[in-house]
């Protein structure tokens, strides 16, 4: 449980300390990519809690989603259609669903523990 959090913090620290910046015109792509990555991460967590976690699916999904979202944004920019909204919508909805599932799983777990405690 703590290892992924540690990884996240470590990555964040590296990102901050390295001082990388993306040029303004590409900041859109980065934002979409972050959203896609966040969605995959939460999806992976949900899968782990539901015991359906598959590493290959997770890792390929992570990179594939990022590339897909960035491609959609790129296409949108060149076609003059705000295609990135499609990615925002899809990832946004899934994000909410996954977080809701995680919350329910936690609630169920908590209820079970309380029941067991009262029983014993």
């Amino acid at each position: 449980m703590w290892l992924p959090l540690l990884g996240l913090l470590l990555g964040f620290a590296i990102g901050v300390l390295a001082g990388w910046e993306v040029p303004d015109e590409y900041s859109h792509y980065l934002s979409i990519a972050i959203l896609a990555a966040f969605d995959t991460l939460i999806g992976g967590w949900r899968a782990y809690l539901q015991r359906t976690y598959d590493e290959t699916v997770f890792i390929t999904g992570f990179f594939f989603n990022i590339v897909l979202a960035a491609t959609l944004t790129f296409l949108g920019v060149h076609l003059g259609v705000d295609l990135y909204l499609a990615a925002v919508f899809a990832f946004g909805v899934r994000l909410f669903q996954n977080i809701a599932i995680i919350r329910r799983l936690w609630l169920a777990e908590w209820a079970k523990r309380r029941y067991n405690r009262e029983k014993s």
């Binding site: 290892l3 992924p4 959090l5 540690l6 990884g7 996240l8 913090l9 470590l10 990555g11 964040f12 620290a13 590296i14 990102g15 901050v16 390295a18 001082g19 990388w20 910046e21 993306v22 303004d24 900041s27 980065l30 934002s31 990519a33 972050i34 990555a37 966040f38 995959t40 991460l41 992976g44 782990y48 976690y53 590493e55 997770f58 890792i59 992570f62």
Partner: protein
């Protein structure tokens, strides 16, 4: 989760964290560099000091008023309060003002050889520009066609007629302005391009010589107080 899986998950989380950090750095730009040189810094410092001085003076005057209120309150009188009300009425433009100033007249252009359409009114934009110019050169009180300009007076177009406050303005229009230094106002207007702006709209702006006594009437309508109430909860009398 197996140990290996955890490591992978942590790796992916680290990548995400890095992206997040880069994203933050990109969107939250650092503030622009301060490139002022020493003279600009000194000028800014002087400006701020003047502001501080003015604020302190203002504060002092309010404190003085407060002290007088307290004294009067103890003595049971209300003259100080009345004086304040009178001052506020003056500031709100509810009293007649006399002073040295200018009288400007806006009339259709009467240049020989003018063959354009007859102009019946003056556009609100032009009037606003004139008011801005007057304020720029130190006008204290302004009245357009007998309508006193206060902070709440609107100059606008209503169905083709120009209205100042609630009054429709028809040509010729007389604009009165009072200034502390009427000569400065006069020379300011004399060099200002505002007369050309009027000429473009086929209007002529004539500016009188500074006059020792210009009378500006009080505002016709009392400002409508909507969102303030007196302390005992009642609405302010209208």
């Amino acid at each position: 989760m197996e140990r290996k899986h955890r490591f992978y998950f942590a790796g992916v989380a680290a990548i995400f964290g890095m992206m997040l950090a880069v994203g933050f750095r990109t969107t939250l730009h650092p503030e622009g560099r301060d490139t002022r040189d020493i003279w600009e810094l000194r000028a800014d410092l002087t400006k701020e000091q003047k502001l501080e001085q003015r604020l302190l003076e203002e504060l002092e005057s309010y404190e003085e008023t407060l002290r007088r209120y307290r004294r009067e309150h103890e003595a049971g009188g209300a003259t100080e309060l009345e004086a304040t009300v009178a001052k506020l009425r003056e500031e709100a433009g509810l009293t007649e003002v006399r002073g040295s100033g200018l009288v400007l007249t806006i009339a259709p252009l009467s240049a020989a050889g003018y063959v354009g359409p007859a102009v019946a009114t003056v556009s609100p934009e032009l009037l606003q520009r004139l008011v801005n110019e007057l304020n720029k050169y130190g006008a204290k009180e302004i009245a357009i066609d007998g309508e006193r300009l206060t902070n709440r007076t609107a100059i606008r177009d209503v169905n083709g007629a120009t209205k100042v406050g609630s009054r429709s303005v028809r040509l010729p229009v007389e604009v009165r302005a009072i200034a502390d230094d009427a000569d400065k106002l006069y020379s300011g207007l004399a060099v200002s391009p505002i007369r050309d702006d009027f000429a473009v709209e086929n209007l002529e702006l004539s500016i009188s010589k500074p006059q020792p006594l210009v009378v500006i009437p009080p505002a016709a309508s009392r400002p409508d107080v909507k969102y303030m109430e007196t302390e005992n909860g009642g609405k302010e009398e209208k």
